[in-house]
């Protein structure tokens, strides 16, 4: 049964109904008590998921909503990470470093956006790809950026929380992630988000109703890069070190995979994609530990493949899932989630 709407605000409010509000509160309660329920390793797992969620939110805004592809987001993440570390090293408080990192990345997003305005399809793909690669190469050759060896990241002062460092960091990352989701959601519901989608669906009509295409494409690039900058900043912080080899072309591809597998154009998609793919990739780092199929794969690997190369299964699987998603469920995990929900609501029919 559909809820009867009585007020225009109901279309833009955060939660559609009480049920949704309830589940969100449950989720938040869980997330806030999480550090006291699990071992430290699982905090890292969450942190990695959170970072991927933030990148995915931004990338999805660009690819899913504005219809512009980017294969260079690792570059923005790198810019965010390096800006943060440089500022932290010179004694700037973390919150300032975070904002500066995001703005720096956003600025480069704007810069990349300018030549990309007229580009489409493969041309845009190669331009963004080139950007991502150029960032990594340049960083690797700059001595004041640590060169190939990179930097270790100074710990920030979180003693005021009264918790240990890992847990405090967890809360910092959690809160920033929640804010990121919240802002992305409001962007999408607003005139700006609608303009992005207008450009995606028909740029000609968008300009005919008064959307300044140039400006909004640049917005989209800048916001997307801003998110990547925030993510890079947080990533550097919990990883404890950064070097150029972290931010390869394959990382950009990984971000693309998260967004596509999660569901293009949907915030829930970004979150689902990041959570599932991060978890999957972490699991596949230790293939033999996976119940049932783990040992089988291990045997197969010893018989026909190279046992040390077994972690490469995660690439094979990511590639396969990507293809299957495009072929069978273009809305990605979000689409699957929708189906389950509809099935559930209609049950037993």
């Amino acid at each position: 049964m559909r809820d009867l709407k009585t007020d225009y605000f109901e279309d833009i409010q955060l939660f559609r109904n009480k049920v949704q509000l309830f589940w969100c509160v449950v989720l938040l309660l869980f997330l806030f008590s999480y550090p006291f329920l699990v071992k430290a390793y699982y905090l890292t797992v969450f942190n990695l998921m959170a970072v991927n969620i933030i990148v995915a939110l931004g990338l999805n805004l660009l690819i899913g909503n504005t219809g512009q592809i980017s294969l260079g987001h690792a570059g923005f993440v790198a810019i965010g990470a390096y800006t943060t570390v440089l500022l932290l090293k010179s004694g700037v408080p973390f919150i300032v470093a975070l904002i500066a990192a995001a703005i720096a990345a956003g600025f480069f997003g704007l810069l990349l956006g300018i030549p990309s305005l007229k580009l489409e399809g493969p041309y845009l793909a190669i331009a963004t790809l080139a950007f991502g690669l150029a960032v990594t190469i340049i960083i690797g050759r700059m001595d004041f950026l640590g060169g190939r060896m990179g930097f270790s990241v100074p710990k920030i002062n979180l003693t005021w929380t009264g918790l240990n460092y890992d847990r405090s960091l967890y809360y910092v990352i959690l809160i920033i992630t929640i804010i990121s989701v919240f802002v992305a959601r409001n962007i999408l519901k607003s005139r700006i988000g609608r303009s992005f989608q207008a450009i995606r669906d028909s740029d000609i009509a968008a300009s005919a109703i008064g959307v300044n295409i140039t400006r909004y494409k640049l917005y989209s690039f800048a916001i997307s890069a801003f998110y990547a900058g925030v993510a890079g900043s947080l990533w550097a912080l919990y990883l404890g070190f950064i070097n150029p080899t972290l931010f390869t072309f394959i990382l950009s591809i990984n971000f693309l995979a998260i967004v596509v597998i999660g569901g293009l154009g949907f915030i829930t998609g970004s979150i689902l994609g990041a959570v599932v793919m991060t978890y999957l990739n972490l699991q596949l780092q230790n293939v033999p530990d996976i119940p049932v199929i783990g040992p089988l794969l291990q045997q197969f690997s010893e018989a026909f493949m190279m046992p040390t190369g077994i972690t490469n299964i995660s690439w094979v699987l990511t590639g396969l899932i990507l293809i299957l998603i495009v072929l069978f469920e273009p809305l990605g995990l979000y689409g699957i989630w929708l189906r389950i929900r509809i099935y559930w609501k209609r049950w037993p029919f």
């Binding site: 279309d11 919240f182 005139r191 300009s207 005919a208 959307v211």
Partner: protein, 267 residues
Amino acid sequence: MGQLFQVHNLTKRFGGLTAINNLTFEVEEKEIFSIIGPNGAGKSTVFNCINGLYKPEEGTMLFKKQDLVGKRPDQIASLGIARTFQNLELFANMTTLDNLMLGRHKAMKAGIFSIAGLSIRRSPAAREEMANRRKVEEIIDFLELESARDVYVANLPYGKQKLVELGRALAMEPELILLDEPAAGLTQEEKEEMIYSIRDIRDLLGITVILIEHNMQMVKYISDRILAINFGKMITCGDVEDVLNHPEVISAYLGEETEEDVNTINE
């Protein structure tokens, strides 16, 4: 009534082809002005020039004393000119409501920072959103699109899609609206509804209409004045009866006729 829109000596070339040749016409305030002509006569090109998609080589287009030449489509849109397209340019993966809300784009001001507060009822962004939503609902009422409100436009039947596109143009609250073959592809019933809608747009909303249409019955019934063009040139411009009975207009539509043919027909 004053003149709202004047086109003077408009010329648009594509390489060697002159699509519009030295075209001059004026549109009065609150009239329904039709442009007719055979296929390929350059009608849609006129719209594309007015709306800024094409940049004409020569001529001026004065709308409320401002020259449109050299302005971007979005600037022209914010001056108060809306349009529809011959082959529908809708935002197919969005709902009717969102399509119409996009028509309000220029009327809304919320910037990148204020929209962060969208989900708070009393925030400026939310208030603006709701005020504009009210406007959109009026248009939904006006065009009777209630049943399509929350449907993705791609899933609507063609006739409804045409109405959504019209609604999106109306949501802009323009002073001048350009309709490119609004009745093409519609059923007889839908055509009649469209005719009433266009009349209402002028009579009730006070919007000036420029119309491209092939359906002569509709043109005859609805227009105040007609401009007939062929090969990008004006054949004639004026009152409905005069234009439709102009010999060159007739021959442009029916093909060249020799005197013998005419005699044969007359016999």
